[in-house]
């Protein structure tokens, strides 16, 4: 895992990406952007890359995920779970599982982005998958917390049961 942090594979922006998406935010403390280059005809991923603001596990998870999806059909890539990402890394500690979830969340958003102006294939569900929902929830939570914080009154906070 440290090796992937040290020498991550597929790091950086793809300038002429066919799709890209971000999950997480600076405020969350974790943020992953995934870039995809897709063969229009076969719907195969030709190139994948990432950028990450997050801990070492986050970077390793993004790196391994982009490795996993290369040369895969979008339909196959869609099915990759955070569990697979974790397994590939030799098992993420529970405290780090959300890194895998976030990476998968970003990938699925990118795939959805790819189909934004194209016809939605059957295998692509309309509802959000758990990974996408978790990414969304983290972002929203931080939004709320951020607002709450800005609104912090200068009154002493009394906590009672």
């Amino acid at each position: 895992m440290l090796e992937l942090f040290r020498n991550p594979k597929n790091l950086g922006k793809i300038k002429d990406a066919d799709a890209s998406a971000t999950a997480g935010s600076l405020a969350c403390g974790d943020m992953i952007t995934i870039y995809l280059k897709v063969d229009e005809k076969t719907e195969k991923i030709i190139e994948a890359s990432f950028e990450s603001y997050g801990c070492a596990a986050n970077i390793a998870a993004s790196s391994i995920l982009t490795e996993l999806i290369k040369e895969k059909y979008l339909q196959e890539a869609w099915k990759i779970s955070w569990k697979q990402v974790s397994d590939e890394l030799g098992g993420l500690p529970s405290i780090k599982l959300h890194c895998g979830i976030l990476a998968v969340g970003a990938l699925r958003r990118a795939i959805r982005a790819y189909y934004k102006n194209r016809e939605r294939p059957e295998w692509l569900p309309e509802e959000l998958t758990p990974e996408e929902r978790q990414a969304l929830e983290e972002e929203e939570l931080m939004n709320i917390l951020g607002k709450k914080m800005r609104a912090v009154s200068t009154k002493p906070s009394e906590k009672e049961v």
């Binding site: 895992m1 440290l2 922006k13 403390g29 997050g54 970077i59 030799g90 405290i95």
Partner: protein, 408 residues
């Protein structure tokens, strides 16, 4: 936590190779040790302090002697005129004893007042007492971490059991004005007990409990380069606490179980070293601190200092945030370069929330996540700090290079 798995740890450690230099700056979480203190511990195990200080035989009396000497040493270092010292096994335990032990002894007063930036070993026991019907009031602090004295004053009444404010904040180095805090409290209600968590203050700022109106204070051995396994609670004469751990009567009724005499002897030695070199060490730590802070702010873009500056800041504390540079990734990158620091980022705390201290001084989340905490010590030299600074510059650059662009 990368690879919290036994099988990966070896690989992780070996991947480090041999860096040019190793500089340990994570003195917040675990200390370096004075070689003299370690020798005192060794002597105690081998010669004179392996007995139980309550038992009537030579090893017992030798152990008791070391114990009493250590108490005297601490009392004289903090210039206490009266009072007792209870040794626990950590600063965390000392804080728990102070807060829960006082609440048990004086259950008729039910309000506990702490600052909003207290260490979790003060904050969590207080919150635990809430479940038992106590009320906890958190006093807000300003952007540098100084307690709002007006609000404090408003909260003191005959319901107030205790006020607890750390002499020096562990994360952002705020040196509180204990004198003013005590005046405010005594003025409103002379019976309210004043506790200070002095774990980070010992050796860093002059403490004069002969003059300060402080009733209880906590200390931690590893914070002054003593062995681990020792904390202490100073309790002024007349203040009653109840034990929170129960067992065999040792020589200390407030913390049962055999005293860790070798660690206590090492603690005593470390106190002596700090006392003898007090001005010298303070000057040295401050100098190193300023080299580090100055270098960071001038050489790295979008870097922010958290906490106060100058003499109102602890002599050893360096806490900076790097925008667009996630803290935990930075600790790993620095580790590969032989520089050991910690981050207040979310990942270590199992929640998405960064340090409650940085939020209390109203740092935005995106700044709080990129915070790095370092402490200088008399065991560091200028070369160490310069090396750390150089690596820090490179490490921040590298971690930022991984992040989505346009973030900074």
């Amino acid at each position: 936590m990368i690879g919290n798995l036994s099988s990966n740890l070896r690989a992780l450690i070996e991947a480090h190779g041999r860096p040019e230099r190793e500089v340990y700056l994570d003195l917040e979480n675990s200390g370096l040790i004075f070689e003299e203190a370690l020798n005192e511990l060794l002597k105690s195990y081998r010669e004179s302090g392996y007995g139980h200080p309550s038992i009537t035989h030579k090893p017992g009396w030798s152990s008791l002697e070391l114990l009493l000497e250590a108490k005297e040493n601490l009392l004289s270092f903090i210039k206490a005129r009266d009072g007792e010292v209870v040794f626990t096994h950590s600063g965390t335990e000392a804080n728990n004893l102070a807060i829960m032990g006082l609440a048990k002894a004086t259950p008729n007063r039910r309000k506990i007042i702490i600052s909003s930036i207290e260490h979790l070993s003060v904050k969590f026991p207080a919150e635990r007492l809430q479940e038992l019907g106590f009320r906890v009031m958190e006093i807000p602090v300003d952007d540098e971490g100084f307690v709002n004295l007006d609000y404090l004053s408003d909260q003191i009444d005959e319901e107030a059991l205790m006020v607890s404010v750390a002499a020096i904040n562990h994360e952002i180095g705020t040196v509180q004005d204990l004198r003013a805090i005590a005046d405010v409290v005594r003025d409103k209600d002379p019976e309210t007990i004043i506790h200070t968590d002095a774990c980070d203050a010992l050796g860093r700022t002059p403490l004069d409990f002969g003059k300060l109106e402080i009733d209880i204070a906590s200390f931690s051995g590893h914070k002054i380069h003593a062995p681990k396994g020792v904390g202490a609670l100073y309790v002024r004469d007349g203040i009653k606490l109840e034990p929170i751990i129960h067992g065999q009567l040792s020589s200390q009724s407030l913390w049962p179980g055999v005293e860790n005499i070798p660690s206590i002897a090492g603690f005593s030695k470390a106190i002596e070293i700090f006392r003898e070199n007090f001005d010298n060490y303070r000057e040295k730590m401050k100098n190193l601190r300023d080299i580090l802070i100055g270098g960071i702010l001038s050489q790295i873009d979008d870097a922010f200092l958290n906490g106060p500056r100058g003499d109102r800041r602890a002599v050893d504390n360096v806490n900076v945030s790097f925008l667009g540079c996630e803290g935990e990734a930075l600790t790993v990158e620095l580790s590969l370069r032989g520089v050991y620091v910690s981050s207040g980022s979310a990942c270590t705390s199992r929640t998405l929330e960064p340090s409650h201290v940085l939020l209390a001084i109203k740092r935005p989340y995106e700044i709080a996540h990129g915070s790095i905490l370092m402490k200088t010590s008399p065991l560091h030299g200028e070369k160490d700090i310069e090396y750390a600074l150089g690596q820090l510059v490179k490490a921040v650059e590298r971690v930022r290079s991984i992040a989505p662009k346009g973030v900074v």
